[in-house]
Amino acid sequence: MRQLRPVFGIAMIKFIKNILLCTFSCLTLLSCVEDQDFNQYDEIGVTPNLEASILYVEAPESLVNETNGANIFSRNFNFDAFSSDVFAKRVLDGTITYIVENTTSKELQVTIELLDADDNVLDTEIIPVDPTPYSLQRDVAYGSSGRSIDIIKNTSSIRVTANNLGDTSSTSNEPEPKIILKSSGQFRVEIK
């Protein structure tokens, strides 16, 4: 009787295995799968277009009049968003939009320079600004149809310089006269 027990156990295991095998085999054989192409996975492109403001600089006409010399303002602004790994390794192309609004009585010149971590100038955009009231929009493309996208990838700071090409005494009749620089970026990044 004792000798029969292991035999019975082995038979049970075989029986169970056969049941499982038959069941899965039947389901598998009875089922169909239409032609699928999983290689398409490699063609999936996740490339969102992201948009946000970058830099806003505002200077009143009083500051322009109080400044000796042509240079009203010049300063580097740290801007690590572009050179951060999460962005720099994924950005494909994009556009930076600058809008300059001038309600002062002065003819001005605004210069925007993109600098790398060592303060080397990577790109320069010079925007001449006519006296009041004046508004100008300039779109600068980077990537396939524009300047090198490496400029964006390596940009670590932005230098904004404003020069007064007019006098230092006149005052605009506009309410709260000022020179304003607005900017935004729209970039396509590759997530996959």
Partner: protein, 476 residues
């Protein structure tokens, strides 16, 4: 061709544990002992049964509402990115889901007490359950971004997901109150292996025309992800101790919870039966190996803002870092180790069954059968037809399924049950269950959504159950 098919077999039958917990074929399939697991008050006539360890109850269910694998990966010559955009991103909605469950019975047994009206059940099973709703706005942000979507608020609350893996110990009593009524109750002790949930999120992300600068970006979030057991498992993977860690937690060494199942069967008359059950009315208290993450607050940014001359007062100021710090202050991403309670996904079943046709002798050791004066253990009918209702509590509210069924018994040797179910996954779900009694050995197998077998890749739902038991009716 063979590789993709093999992939699907693996996905559907082994690893892709998704979708639903409805066991509509097993429910009230009284020839199968495991029917007591979906209704503790099932009308059972066994003297005792014992499930074959690991094989007495194996169930896998998989499904996906809104889109199928075939919709995306069919070799139809269409661009896959267009298919994703049309059929998934904009073709699905936030109520569509990917969810699933599996159960593997480790131990299962039942026996009749000294009082033959009492039938006791006990056992232990592993259960995994997960659900994730389609986060449509996140997908739009990921695939298309926020550009040219001015004033479109992306709903951060669409992130709703939960999942768990646990071992369940259970002990139940099935009591025949009188000739018409059988009631049952089962107590459960949950031993959690891991848990995660993020179900009560609120918030938006929106880009608008800026007040000063060109655009303003606003994020308002009240979000939370709670986890237990995941960090410990990660450490166990690193240390190569996953097996012992899981085993320890499964055997009451992890977070614990309690729950109850209730059910009844009531014979309205000799041929008409109503049943109902409430399963997993319980909770798990998570206090060990907790890691919760929160994102709570509101911030609006318009890039770096410089207003002269005040902004030039400090030549060393780092406006970028100030901006980053402000955002982190206003919308802090934090973590904590606070204990939490997770409620189980409670299920409700109900059915109305009409029996007809020839009578099938009852196997129970009793003075019952076709000509019995007492119907303490009723003779069965060869045919049964009826309807079932199933409701499960989910993060986005209850989900319901309706089932119509027909059951045919071939003596005491074999029983077949076929079902037609409508739910959010399918309006053409036909299932088939088979129970074969070969002496004391009971084998059952059930498969769902059979019409989808014509093209598994186009299926939104698939499930499978299998079991092996030894049963005794106590007859000499």
């Amino acid at each position: 061709m063979r590789a993709p098919k093999l992939l699907f077999i693996v996905l559907f039958w082994v690893g892709f544990v998704a979708y639903g917990q409805n066991k509509q074929i097993l429910y009230d399939f009284v020839e199968i002992p495991q029917s007591a697991m979906v209704n503790p008050g099932v009308d059972t006539d066994f003297q005792w049964y014992a499930g074959v360890p690991l094989l007495s109850g194996l169930s896998l269910q998989a499904g996906l509402s809104g889109v199928s694998v075939n919709d995306i990966f069919a070799n139809d010559g269409l661009n896959i990115n267009d298919k994703i955009r049309e059929r998934a991103i904009y073709g699905m909605n936030p109520r569509d889901e990917l969810s699933g469950t599996f159960q593997i019975e480790l131990l299962s047994l039942g026996f009749r007490g000294k009082n033959p009206d009492n039938f006791y059940t006990a056992g232990m099973y592993i259960e995994g359950d997960a659900i994730g709703y389609w986060f449509q706005d996140y997908a739009i942000l990921a695939f298309e971004g926020n550009a040219d979507k001015l004033n479109q608020a992306f709903d951060l609350g669409q992130l709703k997901t939960r999942g768990e893996l646990m071992n369940v110990f259970h002990l139940g009593l099935n009591k025949k109150v009188d000739n018409d009524l059988t009631i049952g109750v089962r107590g459960k002790l949950y031993s959690s292996i891991f848990d995660f949930n993020s179900t009560k999120n609120k918030g938006t992300f929106v880009t608008k025309e800026g007040v000063n600068n060109i655009y303003s970006s606003t994020v308002e979030a009240d979000m939370q992800l709670r986890t237990s057991g995941l960090n410990g498992l990660k450490d166990a993977v690193d240390e190569g101790t996953v097996g012992s860690t899981v085993a320890k937690r499964a055997l009451l060494g992890g977070n614990l919870g309690v729950g109850l199942d209730f059910g009844f069967t009531y014979h309205l008359n000799d041929q008409t039966v109503i049943t109902a059950s409430l399963l997993d009315f319980g909770l798990v208290y998570h206090s060990k190996d907790i890691k919760n993450y929160t994102l709570n607050g509101k911030a609006t940014i318009e890039g770096i803002g410089i207003i002269l001359p005040d902004a030039a007062a400090d030549p060393n100021s780092d406006f970028w870092q100030d901006l980053v710090d402000d955002v982190e202050d206003f919308v802090p991403f934090e973590d904590n180790e606070d204990a939490y309670i997770a409620f189980r996904p409670t299920k409700l079943y109900g059915s109305l069954r009409y029996n007809f046709g020839e009578r099938v002798d009852n196997r129970a050791d009793c003075a019952c059968g076709v000509n019995a004066s007492s119907n303490r253990a009723r003779a069965k009918y060869a045919n049964s037809v009826g309807g079932q209702l199933y409701i499960i509590n989910r993060p986005r509210g209850p989900q319901m399924a309706l089932t119509g069924f027909y059951q045919r018994r071939f003596g005491n040797f074999m029983a077949l049950k076929t079902t037609y179910t409508i739910d959010k996954f399918s309006y053409s779900n036909i299932g088939l269950g088979l129970s074969v009694q070969a002496g004391p050995v009971n084998i059952y197998a059930m498969a769902d959504n059979l019409l989808s077998y014509g093209n598994l890749a186009n299926s939104h739902y698939a499930s499978f159950q299998l079991g092996l038991n030894i049963i005794s009716w106590g007859k000499k």
